[in-house]
Amino acid sequence: MQVNTGLANFSYAMVITALVLYALAMLAYACDFAFGKARLLATEPAAEPAAVKELVGVGASAAPAASPAAPVVNGAAEPPPAGRWPSGFWLRTAFGLTCSALGVQLIAILTRGLAEHRVPWGNMYEFICAITCMAVIVLVLISVKFRAYYIGLFVLLPVVLGLALDVTAVYTLAGPVAPALQSYWIAIHVTAMIIATGLFIVGAVVSVMYLVADRCQRRLAAGLPSKVEGIMAHLPSALVLDRLSYRTILFAFPVWTFGIMAGAIWADQAWGRYWGWDPKETWSFITWVVYAGFLHARATAGWRGRKAAWIQLAGFGCLMFNLIGVNLWITGLHSYAGLT
C-alpha cells in the first residue's frame, strides 16, 4: 500500500511541535526550581538522619538521630503535600505543558502509523520517538501517583535531547518495513521493549538524582559544602529517590523479560531459532543480566544503596548501547534501523 505522504509530513510537524512544547515544559520546571517555594514535593515522608531533615525542611523530628534504623515519627511540623495535583504556578504550567506535548506526540505517532499502514516502530527514528514518548508517559504517571513532580525537569532533559537528535540526525522517511518485520509479533515484541525502555529511562534518571542527593547529604552531614544544595532543597531525601527508582525497575524488569521472550518466539518464526546470539539478542541478554544483578544487589548486604545504583546505571548503559551502538556499529539480523 502507498505511503500517505501528506499525513507523514503532518506527523513530522507534530513531533517538532511536541519537541518545542517539551522544551518549554523544561523551562517551566526550571523556573519552578528557581522561583517556586522550596518545599518537599514527595508524597513519601522522609526518614533521614537529622542533618538531612533540616536540609529538606522537615524539621521537628521526634526521633533520636542516634539510631537510623529506629522508626522516625514525622512530627507533623509540615503537613504532607496536599492533593494529587501540582501546586504553584510554575509547576502547574510545567505539568500542563508536559501533558499537552505528550498529547501532540501521541498524535504524531498515530498519524505516522496511519500514513504507513503499520505499527509505527519499524526503524530507529520511530523507535526513539516511541521510547521518548513512553518515558514521558511514565513521568506523568509517576508524577501523579507518587506526587513526584520534582522529577519532571530531569526526565525531560534526556527526552528533549533524544527527540532533537531523532528529528535531525536519525530522521527516516515514512515507508514500509522489510518482509522479516511483517508480523504481528512486531506489535508485541517491540511494544514491550518500548514500554520497558521508557521505564528504564525514568529509573536511570531518578537513580542519578539519588546518587547526587546521597552525595550531597553525606557532604552536608560531614559539614562540607555542596554545590547542589539549592536544588536539593526542592527534592526529597535520597532514600525516597532510591525507592522511586527501584519501583520503576521492578516494573520495567518483567516487561523487559517478556519483551525478550516475545522476541525469541518471533525469531523462531522468522529465522528458525529462538536464540542465536545475534548482537541485538546478545545485548538485550547482557542488559537483562545486569539488571538482574541490580535486583540481587538490592537484596545483598553491603551492595544496597550506591553500589546498586551504579549497577543499575551500568544496565542502562547496556540498554543504550543496544539501542544506538549495536544499530550503528555492529551488523546483524536486526540491522533494520534504516540508517546507512
Binding site: 515522608p45 526518614a47 522516625v72 509479533w185 525507592r243 528458525g272 546478545t282 543480566v289 555492529i330
Partner: protein
C-alpha cells in the same frame, strides 16, 4: 524468617554478627574464617569435607551469584563485537585475512565461538550450580515451613519501623481476639500468646521467587535438550527439484550430540515456484516487499503430498520439524556441448546473489565430462540488464531482461585431488582461460568456445530458495520454563511479605493497644499504607481512640502511621527474632 535467607546470610547470622553493617564481603570472609578457626586465631585443619563445605557455601552465596552474573554479562560482550563462527563463518574468514596476526590468537581463546567456549560454559555452569545450591535448599525449607507459625511478638513494639497505638474500652483479651479476627479475615497467618497476637502474610513472594529461579534451571535444561537431540540443516532447492530430509540430501547438516543419521524425519519437499515482490517507489525502492514459495511436501508417514505457501515468518511444520525460507536467488540454465558434439551438461546452476538490491549474482559451472578437456565457467547473472557506458549492470532485482556473462576455462578442474571443493568457486590452478569476446548472453544465445572446446548455451533461468530445517525438542519446554519464570517473577514482585504485631495492656483509662509492623523484602516501600489502613480499621472496630504515643516510645497515632518509614533491613529482622526467641 530463615527461609528468606541465603545460606551465606545464614552463615553470617549463625556467626552471630550483631550488626548488619558488618555483613557484606569482608564480613562473609570473616565469618567463614571464624568458622574455620578457633577463637585463638590459630588455623585448624579443616579437612577435605570442611573445605568442600566452605567452597560450597562460597559458591552458593548471593555475592558469588552477583559476581557470576556480571562475569556472564562481560563474557557475552566479545560475542557481539567479534564475528562468530556459529553466526557468520564468512565474516570470520574475512577477519583472518584482515588481521592475520591477531586472528589465530583470538581463535585460541575461542573468541570466534564465544557462546560455545569452555570458559563461557564454565561461567554459566558455575552460576547455575550456585543457583541450584541456593534455591533447592530454600525450596525444601519453604515446603517444610508451609505450616510454620509467625514469630512471637517482640516485647517493645515501638522499636519496629511501623507503630501505632490506640486505647479502647474492651478488655485486653477481647481486643486481641477482635484484632485476630480482622487479621485472619485478611488472610494473615496468626499466632497468639499471652497479651499479644502476631500475624504474617505474603508467603507467596517466596513461592514466586523460587518458581522463577527453578524455571531458570529448567530453561537451561531445555536448551541443553535441544542441543543434544535437535539438529539444524540447510538445503538449497531449485524450482522443479525435490529433496528428502536425509543427511546425504542436505547441503549443511549440524546434528545435535546425540543425533544419528537415521534419526531424521524423512519427509520430502519439492519447489513448484517462487515469487518475490519488490518495493517500486520511495526510499526503500528495490527492497523486497514479500517472498512466497509454493511447495509440495509429503510427510515421512507416506501421506500424499500437500501444497504449502512458504513465506518469511510462516514456516512449514512437518513431522515436528520446521522449515524456513531464508534466502532466494537465480539459477540460470545452461546446456554445454563439448568438442565431440556430445551434450555433457544440461541443467540449472544456482548463482549466489552478490547484492540483494539488484540480485546481481555470481556462479560457477563445472563440466568434468567434457572432451577433449574439462571445462569450467565463471559467470555473472544479471536479472535486469542495462548498459551503462558499455558495462552491463543490474537495474532491478526481478528478472525483467536477464543476461549472463561468462568467462570460460579449459584444463583440469582439480576435482579428483581429494580435497573437497566448493561448488561455488573455481580452482583455476589447472585451468587456462579461453580467449573469447566478452558478451552478455540473452536467453537462447550461445557462446562458441575457441580451439574446438565446444559451446555453451544460456537456455533460460529458474529461481531457487534456501531452506533452513530445524528440529528442536527443547523448544516447548523452553517456552514453558520461560513463561513460568515470568509468572514467578511477577508474583514475587507483587507480593510482599509482612508482619503485624498487636499487644494489648491494661492502662489507667482502659486498654492500650499497641501495633507494630514490619515488612521483609519491601525495599520499594508500600507496606505503610496497608499498615495504616489496618490500624485505623482495628481502632474503628474496637471503638478505640487514637492515643498519644508514650513519651518514651515513638508510637504513631493511626492517622499518622503512614508517615513512618519501614526500614526492612536484616537488622530489623534480627530485632524481631532476637526478642521473639
Amino acid at each position: 524468617m530463615t527461609d528468606l535467607q541465603t545460606p551465606a546470610e545464614q552463615a553470617e547470622a549463625t556467626a552471630a554478627l550483631p550488626e548488619t553493617e558488618a555483613s557484606g564481603p569482608a564480613a562473609t570472609a570473616a565469618a567463614a574464617a571464624r568458622s574455620a578457626r578457633p577463637a585463638g586465631g590459630q588455623p585448624v585443619r579443616l579437612g577435605l569435607m570442611g573445605w568442600l563445605r566452605w567452597a560450597w557455601r562460597q559458591l552458593t552465596s548471593m555475592r558469588t551469584a552477583l559476581i557470576l552474573l556480571f562475569l556472564l554479562a562481560l563474557a557475552s560482550v566479545p560475542g557481539s563485537v567479534l564475528p562468530q563462527e556459529g553466526i557468520d563463518p564468512a565474516a570470520v574468514t574475512q577477519y583472518y585475512t584482515a588481521h592475520p596476526a591477531l586472528a589465530p590468537l583470538l581463535n585460541r581463546l575461542s573468541l570466534f565461538d564465544v557462546f560455545a567456549a569452555p570458559w563461557f560454559a564454565a561461567i554459566y555452569l558455575l552460576l547455575f550450580t550456585s543457583l541450584a545450591g541456593c534455591v533447592l535448599p530454600r525450596t525444601f525449607r519453604l515446603v517444610g515451613s508451609a505450616r510454620q507459625q509467625p514469630p512471637r511478638a517482640p516485647r517493645n513494639l515501638a522499636r519496629l519501623p511501623l507503630t501505632a497505638r490506640f486505647s479502647t474500652s474492651l478488655p485486653p483479651d477481647e481486643a486481641l481476639a477482635a484484632a485476630g479476627r480482622l487479621l485472619a479475615g485478611r488472610r494473615f497467618r496468626l499466632r497468639t500468646g499471652d497479651g499479644w497476637v502476631s500475624a504474617e502474610k505474603g508467603y507467596l513472594r517466596e513461592v514466586g521467587n523460587l518458581l522463577f529461579h527453578i524455571a531458570l534451571l529448567a530453561l537451561l535444561g531445555s536448551v541443553a535438550l535441544g542441543g543434544l537431540f535437535g539438529y539444524k540443516a540447510n538445503r538449497l532447492l531449485v524450482a522443479g527439484q525435490t529433496f528428502v530430509n536425509q543427511p546425504t540430501d542436505l547441503d549443511v547438516f549440524h546434528p545435535g550430540r546425540l543425533v544419528g543419521p537415521g534419526d531424521l524425519q524423512p519427509f520430502a519437499i519439492s519447489l513448484r515456484s517462487f515469487t518475490a515482490k519488490y518495493i517500486t517507489s520511495g526510499p526503500e525502492i528495490s527492497d523486497p516487499a514479500s517472498f512466497s514459495a509454493l511447495l509440495r511436501y509429503s510427510s515421512a508417514g507416506g501421506t500424499p503430498s500437500q501444497p504449502y505457501n512458504l513465506q518469511v515468518n510462516h514456516p512449514l511444520r512437518v513431522d515436528g520439524v520446521r522449515v524456513y525460507l531464508i534466502g532466494h536467488g537465480y539459477a540460470p540454465v545452461f546446456k554445454v556441448t563439448d568438442g565431440k558434439g556430445t551434450v555433457v551438461f544440461n541443467g540449472p546452476v544456482p548463482f549466489i546473489p552478490v547484492s540483494t538490491n539488484t540480485m546481481l549474482s555470481d556462479g560457477v559451472i563445472k563440466v568434468p565430462d567434457a572432451d577433449p578437456a574439462q571445462l569450467g565457467f565463471a559467470g555473472v547473472f544479471v536479472p535486469t540488464a542495462v548498459d551503462i557506458d558499455g558495462r552491463v549492470e543490474s537495474a532491478w532485482p526481478a528478472a525483467l531482461s536477464p543476461r549472463v556473462s561468462l568467462v570460460p576455462y579449459a584444463g583440469n578442474l582439480g576435482m579428483n585431488s581429494g580435497t573437497p571443493q566448493s561448488v561455488y568457486s573455481l580452482d583455476t590452478a589447472g585451468l587456462h582461460k579461453l580467449k573469447v569476446q566478452p558478451r552478455a548472453l540473452a536467453p537462447g544465445q550461445s557462446l562458441q568456445l575457441p580451439d574446438g572446446y565446444g559451446r555453451i548455451t544460456f537456455t533460460g533461468y529458474r529461481q531457487w530458495i534456501s531452506l533452513a530445517i530445524t528440529y528442536d525438542p527443547g523448544q516447548v519446554p523452553a517456552l514453558l520454563s520461560a513463561c513460568t519464570a515470568l509468572a514467578g517473577l511477577i508474583l514475587s514482585f507483587l507480593v510482599r511479605r509482612r508482619r503485624l504485631f498487636v499487644r494489648a495492656t491494661e492502662g489507667p483509662n482502659g486498654t492500650i493497644v499497641d501495633l507494630g509492623g514490619l515488612a521483609r523484602s519491601d525495599a520499594a516501600g508500600g507496606y505503610e499504607t496497608e499498615f495504616a489502613e489496618l490500624a485505623s480499621q482495628l481502632c474503628a472496630d474496637q471503638r478505640g481512640t487514637a492515643g498519644e504515643p508514650a513519651a518514651d516510645q515513638q508510637g504513631v497515632p493511626p492517622a499518622a502511621a503512614d508517615q513512618a518509614e519501614p526500614v526492612s533491613s536484616d537488622h530489623d529482622e534480627a530485632l524481631v527474632e532476637d526478642e521473639a526467641e
